[in-house]
């Protein structure tokens, strides 16, 4: 009995010790809060340049059981690779950049996202990643108070508007709303004008934004919009039968789809099995190369096109793509589109740090001030972008269209680049297409 009690006391002491270690100030791994939070003269842990100081950037991502972990893990890996390359090229203003020490898994849940932000905020200069729209909105007011800028890792149309971003959020690429318009313009050019359009997706900033774009496009072109088929990830709804039934019943010529990869294959495959012949225009997160191993592979080849802001990792010929392939090496076959998203969306935060360093103001206030008028070079992966301008100027109105291709290394081939169209070009972008 006494032995048991002793073991329990030891176990309790161990647990308390672990909790204390987890909650206590992180004095070994990084800086403590000071006037220049997130910047130290000491080198980064495992520094590439031991003579450099260190800039700490936070990462709030979905790294275990959240709905976007499949994209977020390679995305986070890409950011580490991106800044390793930056460090290997000498760093920024005499500092290496660390995006590992303050990485936290918030599982796409606003509450842990907010808690993790509060935990790491004293020690970071900015957020290299805050994954998701509702999660980012949950911390936006705090970010404003703290002068912390961040990269959103979501493509909600609201991120193109200063009223929504408070000048703190640095998105790259187009919004889901604009993506729908571009893809439907392309559909007209390649397959003729559809007589009807339906949207299927998750409600909110992702599927809802894409559906709003489809509706706006249909209105502008006097095409019948058959509605938004709302669904949810398979862990919630079990299967996509309801969505398949509604898509098939709609008889639409074109379907704008904004769900996860497994759900995409199920909806496209199930619809094709029910003799549906409309074209599916899939948003960026709808694709995974492994879908070509599923029973829906043939249906995907027949009916599905993937709409993306930049060319895929294998086929892209920009300097950014060459750098990504070099960083990945043999890991190319084991990653997905999350990697290119993480890499390409890191350019704005790098540019902001460089601008602040050039001004001799490598502080939160200095980095925030650098955002207005900041021009970002994406090494050819995207057109140059200037922040701090109104939405109509900021928004990207072109895309890349790809199609499933079992003969390609990435299981998809680029069909067209620099795709845009009259509706996307003429759209007057005065407010977010949907609330976040």
């Amino acid at each position: 009995m006494q032995e048991t009690m002793r073991w329990r006391a030891l176990a309790l002491a161990g647990v308390l010790g672990l909790i204390a270690a987890a909650c206590g100030p992180d004095t070994d791994d990084g800086p403590v809060a000071d006037d220049h939070a997130g910047v130290t003269e000491d080198p980064c842990p495992d520094a590439v340049n031991p003579d450099n100081g260190c800039i700490y950037l936070g990462v709030l991502s979905d790294l275990s059981e959240g709905p976007f972990a499949g994209l977020a893990v390679p995305l986070t890996n890409a950011q580490e690779d991106f800044f390793r390359r930056v460090n290997e090229e000498g760093g920024i203003g005499g500092y290496d950049v660390d995006v590992s020490t303050y990485t936290r898994d918030t599982r796409y849940d606003p509450q842990p996202h907010s808690a993790a932000y509060r935990e790491i905020e004293p020690s970071i200069l900015a957020l290299a990643q805050t994954l998701g729209t509702p999660t980012t909105q949950a911390v936006l007011r705090d970010m404003d108070d703290d002068d912390v800028i961040g990269v959103p890792m979501s493509w909600w149309s609201g991120w193109d508007f200063r009223d929504e971003t408070r000048g703190l959020i640095l998105p790259s690429g187009y919004s889901y709303c604009m993506e729908s318009m571009i893809s439907l313009d392309w559909h007209v050019e390649e397959h003729g004008e559809p007589s009807s359009v339906v949207a299927v997706g998750y409600p909110g900033d992702y599927g809802g934004d894409a559906a709003a774009g489809a509706r706006l496009w249909a209105q502008a072109n006097d095409v019948e919009f058959l509605g938004f088929v709302e669904t949810a990830p398979n862990p919630v709804v079990g299967s996509q039968d309801a969505a398949i039934g509604q898509v098939v019943a709609s008889g639409a010529d074109a379907v704008v789809i904004a769900v996860g990869p497994a759900e995409t294959a199920e909806i496209v495959g199930g619809s094709a099995a029910d003799d549906f012949t409309g074209v599916f225009l899939g948003s960026l997160p709808t694709w995974n190369p492994a879908l070509m191993d599923t029973p829906a592979a043939q249906a995907l080849q027949d009916l599905y096109f993937h709409v993306i802001p930049w060319e895929n990792l294998v086929e892209g010929d920009s300097d950014a793509h060459h750098a990504m392939r070099e960083a990945l090496g043999d890991g190319l076959s084991e990653t997905n589109d999350g990697y290119s998203a993480g890499w390409i969306m890191s350019y704005p935060i790098k540019a902001a740090l460089e601008a602040a360093a050039a001004d001799g103001e490598l502080t939160r206030e200095g980095v925030r001030a650098a955002v207005d008028g900041l021009t970002v070079d994406f090494e050819g992966a995207l057109p140059e972008r200037t922040f701090g301008v109104e939405a109509n100027e900021l928004v990207l109105r072109e895309a890349v269209i790809a199609a499933p291709d079992p003969d390609s290394e990435w299981n998809e081939s680029t069909v067209a680049t620099g795709v845009s169209g009259p509706t996307a070009q003429a759209f007057d972008y005065t407010e977010p297409c949907v609330g976040g």
Binding site: P235, A262, L291, P295
Partner: protein
Amino acid sequence: MEELIASVVRGLGIGSTYALIAVGFVIVYRATDVVNFAHPALMILGAYYTSWFTFTVGLPFVLAVPAAMVSVAVLAALCERIAMRPMVGEPPFAAAMVTVGVFFVLFVLAFRLIGTTVITMGDPWGLERVTVLGVRLFQVDLAKTVIALVAIGAVAAFLKRSRIGLAMRATALDQEVAMAQGVKVGRVFGLSWAIAGATAGLAGMLIGTAAGGVEPVTALVALKALPVIILGGLDSVEGTVPAGIAIGIAESLTRTYQPAYAPWLGANVDVVVPYLIMILVLMVRPYGIFGTRQVQRI
């Protein structure tokens, strides 16, 4: 009419799978008085092992499935031995909390193993159809129904007719009396977890036959078995079958007809239907339709 039959058959397929998942919960609960929240993670690992044995090892699908079931059974028995056996004698709530911890460990393991991709089972059904009495049905729905019901029947027969099954039932009734009769209760606990693991592995394969494959988060589908076990009775293996089928068909019919006939209810109403049925049943029979009525002496 054709649409109605197709919808009912889809419901049978998914409902039988829910019932199979529920059997795993029930077996562990009967033996240990603990609701095993690690079950969803065991299920997704069953999907992973089926895929691994099929595509990496190169086994034919019919051999990959039992190999995956054995793998998950061994893993489940290990979990019981390491994490649950020390909890014997502790309150069931504390033990249930330990299963939550086991769930997260196994879930992270599933993420590590599956990675960022979607996995497929290599099953022979895919999106193939078969025409039965003039109605085109998906083969996978029929396969799910047959495989799940046969597996549940085998488990029920094992529990009823074998000596080990008798020992498990005795343990479920009263652990101390069972020990006095020479039943090795610890071994019964381990065996309960192993059988639950095997059924979870099989259910994982059935869930994994979806046209889009599965991702690690698909594990959470297993939580849909909770209304089934409440409806069928937390301690009734037999009760899982009608409960699972009832919930599966109700869900499927809602998916098919609600968007057309009651669109004002909004999207994804089918997700709520199992819980509505559960609440209605609990109001009338708090111990479920086939569960044992609890009598407490005051």
